[in-house]
């Protein structure tokens, strides 16, 4: 479509210069590759490689520890993105793919509930398929973690399965939680050195949430951090002292967190409290539910926390990716953490200590009367769920959700899939509130991709995605192209500076995952999925230097 000159048109100023630059880049790349330590045996993944992921791999859920989902690859640019060509399609004949595939040494590893596939990244050919039928909630699955030659896969019955990446055979299976109590797990484990960090889900049976660290070799528990403090511990005074609400307070660890190797801190988003829509049985802020927490990955000890939704009663968990980047704030270089939270607010913190810097709404919400001195939105009590129904924006599905956000260091913008939704929240529990204690019924929804200035929280541009709740994540690249999808099955390539459409293709279904990119055989591959289809795109060989 419209491919007017983007920011990166300088790269294509003259063909001869372009070719020269490509040749130079390739030589540089080859030289850099030869310097990489050849510690890997076979096709595995050295955990140390996660610290500085190369451009030829996507070795963890977010591509790297920062959660930025920004790739330094720049073969695909604003000027040539409209020439992208389909390399292959893979159909899994499963439920919708919501996972981000890992790509390690030319092999993709991706999931749906109960299923893991390894596929050839060059051809889309399935190498092996692991299937394990289980009971439990099959709501979706985000992907696997990898350590050496081993993969880690969470299941609907809350088990952690360790597979040999070579052939998909099972090494061991260990229990994360008891599914009979209502636990399940959907997240992609995060590997940090010799820790496999795994979380649990389940918000209808008033069970406590936690995060675990397991030994990559044996699955033995290293530590478990409960998202509610024990009675008497710091934060426990944010729960009623005369009931056992704190022991049934929820706070699930649904999603994959991020990690700062220099500070040696894990950052994790924590789910909503239970009972979900009933606040009366649990007066107080209900720490550490709906919080962003910083934990030591070696001990599981809490370093600091920030709570986007104190005393939540709308299912607005704070599990959306805590994105890490270093940038100036008020003229000073800072180590920042940003989250576009499900409650409709964008937050920026100093990730060394949790100091609050920015709070700003990224959709028009109805529920908050303002922001308090600690940067937390203050809930209007009239918007609490009630027996006669409370009209509230956003709906329980939230202003955003699992779909990955992205931060582009070249534009300084944070991108989020923003949903404008209205819903009526009914508190239906008669007697003691349990589980959800009610429901919300959606009225209307539409979606937009929004670019946020991290310094102010202001929306810089807005790209409409259509009616309904969009489910697509976001990828930004040094080529000056942002990839996402709209509500009509169109994958979109946008100019990250302006939001203008550079190119699109209809994939025949909704995207409920996030695009990713990596280099293979000198080609930058764009990998996306829609429904149960995985697509690989790259530029035609004629467009690639040396091909």
């Amino acid at each position: 479509m419209n491919h007017k000159i983007g920011r990166f048109s300088r790269r294509n100023s003259a063909p001869s210069t372009g070719l020269f630059l490509w040749a130079f880049a390739l030589m540089f790349l080859l030289a850099a590759l030869s310097l990489l330590p050849h510690v890997l045996l076979g096709q595995g993944l050295d955990p140390a490689a996660l610290l500085k992921p190369a451009t030829n791999t996507w070795p963890t859920y977010n591509g790297d520890y920062s959660g930025r989902r920004f790739s330094t690859l720049n073969q695909i640019t604003a000027s040539n993105v409209n020439e992208l060509t389909l390399d292959w399609v893979l159909e899994t004949r499963s439920q919708s793919i919501k996972s981000t595939p890992l790509e390690v040494n030319g092999i993709l590893y991706f999931t749906a509930p109960d299923n893991v596939w390894a596929a050839d990244a060059r051809t889309g050919r399935v190498i092996w398929h692991y299937e394990r039928t289980s009971v439990g909630d099959h709501i979706g699955h985000r992907g696997v973690g990898m350590y050496g030659d081993w993969l880690y896969f969470t299941t609907p019955d809350a088990q952690l399965v360790c597979l040999n990446a070579k052939d998909g055979s099972v090494r061991w299976i260990t229990q994360l939680a008891d599914s009979k109590l209502g636990y399940f797990s959907t997240m992609a484990p995060l590997v940090v050195r010799d820790h496999v960090i795994a979380g649990v889900s389940g918000d209808v049976t008033d069970i406590p949430g936690y995060l675990e660290s397991l030994d990559p070799a044996t699955g033995k528990l290293q530590w478990r951090w409960y998202t509610e403090p024990k009675p008497g511990e710091p934060g426990s005074n944010t729960w009623p002292q005369t009931s056992d609400a704190i022991r049934h307070g929820g706070g699930m660890t649904w999603m994959t967190g991020t990690y700062d190797p220099e500070l040696n801190l894990l950052y994790w988003g924590i789910g909503n409290p239970n009972p979900v829509l009933a606040g009366a049985p649990r007066p107080g802020d209900n720490l550490f539910t709906c919080s962003i927490v910083a934990l030591n990955p070696d001990t599981g000890k809490l370093a600091w926390y920030f709570q986007p939704s104190p005393h939540d009663v709308h299912d607005w968990d704070a599990v959306e990716t805590p994105v890490l980047f270093d940038a100036t704030f008020d003229g000073k270089p800072r180590r920042l953490l940003a989250q576009a939270s499900r409650n409709g607010y964008f937050f920026v913190l100093d990730r060394t200590n949790g100091e609050h810097l920015v709070t700003a709404p990224f959709i028009q919400t109805t529920w908050a009367s303002g922001v308090d001195s600690r940067g937390r939105p203050m809930e209007n009590p009239q918007d609490d769920p009630r027996p006669d129904g409370a009209l509230v924006a956003p709906a329980s599905d939230g202003a955003t959700n699992w779909m990955a956000p992205s931060f582009d260091p070249e534009t300084g913008l944070f991108y989020v899939d923003a949903r404008r939704t209205f819903s009526v929240f009914f508190l239906t529990a008669a007697g003691k509130a349990e589980g959800w204690a009610g429901t919300d019924r959606g009225l209307w929804a539409d979606s937009a991709l929004r670019a946020i200035d991290y310094k102010t929280g202001k929306i810089v541009w807005d790209h409409e995605l259509g009616n309904g709740e969009d489910g697509a994540g976001i990828l930004t690249t040094a080529g000056g192209v942002l990839f996402t999808a709209d509500n009509s099955g169109n994958m979109l390539a946008l100019d990250p500076a302006t939001g203008k459409t550079l190119w699109h293709v209809n994939l025949g279904g909704g995207m409920a995952s996030s695009p990713e990119t990596f280099e293979i055989d000198g080609r930058q591959v764009l990998l996306v999925s829609a429904r149960n289809l995985v697509f690989a795109f790259s530029l035609p060989h004629s467009q690639i230097p040396g091909k």
Binding site: V135, D178, L391, T428, R441
Partner: protein, 274 residues
């Protein structure tokens, strides 16, 4: 969790039966509500609603003093989210605890029949399912009295002031509207009657020719309509001018302006239109 909405959960004292109906419906449509945990399935066949009711009475009189009549705990532990109860099938684990007691923890032994124990087990498993099914909400059986909290006169004043009469008439399209819809549905449709009206579109071609019809699809790249002859037609957005008329636009615009009082007053007014 759309499958949840399908279920007719009860919020009155008949909640247990509501849970049962919900499971039954889920089984029929092949959803995984009971598969939420393996446990629910294992215990489902063993527990009739009569057993659950008997078990509830037995529990309240024998166990409620320590565990709470609803089994969520008191002096004694919460049994709804208990590991032992979770692993129990038809009373096979609960039974020995009841018969032997837990002297070390101050729980005495009870003499009970097999039937009494399996009834109590049925009750405890049903209590767990109540949490699992707590997101279900009645449609027709959700009591009007819970929704009818507003002031009808103020609702009428809002109706007149907000310009609702621009599209609606209480003697025309809204006559007897309270009889037409169950209360929850009426409240929802009052706010946003999703699907009640199809937007129309006028597409102006480069030649100046205009094509009108019901909007079939609209995205950034294409527009599609069904014309008056019933034919589907689509056009590329970048070559035509598109004007959409959405009859529900006023409803959508109101959503961000309504207070909770407006909502309930207006609902009370519509409920007078019997």
């Amino acid at each position: 969790m759309s499958q949840m909405d399908f279920c007719k959960g009860k919020t009155s004292k008949h909640w247990i039966m509501g849970a049962g109906i919900c499971i039954f419906v889920s089984a029929l449509v092949g959803t995984t509500l009971t598969g939420y945990t393996g446990r629910a399935q294992a215990n489902q066949s063993a527990s009739s609603s009569a057993a659950v009711e008997r078990g509830g009475q037995q529990f309240a009189s024998s166990c409620g003093f320590c565990h709470g009549a609803d089994a969520t705990g008191g002096r004694g532990p919460d049994l709804v989210r208990s590991k032992l109860v979770a692993d129990d099938v038809g009373g096979n684990l609960i039974g020995s605890v009841i018969r032997n007691g837990r002297p070390a923890k101050g729980m005495p032994a009870f003499t009970m029949s097999e039937q009494q124990i399996s009834d109590i087990a049925a009750f405890l498993h049903a209590r767990f399912l109540a949490g699992v099914n707590s997101r279900t909400m009645g449609g027709g059986d959700y009591p009007l009295s819970k929704l009818l909290t507003g002031n009808a006169a103020e609702g009428k004043a809002f109706f007149d002031k907000a310009g609702c009469a621009g599209c609606h008439s209480v003697t025309g399209d809204l006559a007897h509207v309270a009889k037409k819809y169950e209360p929850v549905m009426l409240e929802m449709r009052m706010l946003y009657p999703r699907g009640a009206e199809t937007p129309t579109v006028t597409v102006t071609l480069p030649s100046g020719e205009q094509v009108k019809g019901e909007l079939e699809h609209l995205d950034e790249f294409s527009v599609a309509l069904r014309d008056s002859a019933g034919w589907y037609r689509s056009f590329p957005r970048n070559e035509v001018k598109v004007e959409v008329h959405d009859p529900l636009a006023a409803h959508q615009a109101l959503l961000s302006k309504l207070t909770q009082d407006d909502v309930h007053n207006l609902f009370a007014y519509l409920e007078t239109l019997q």
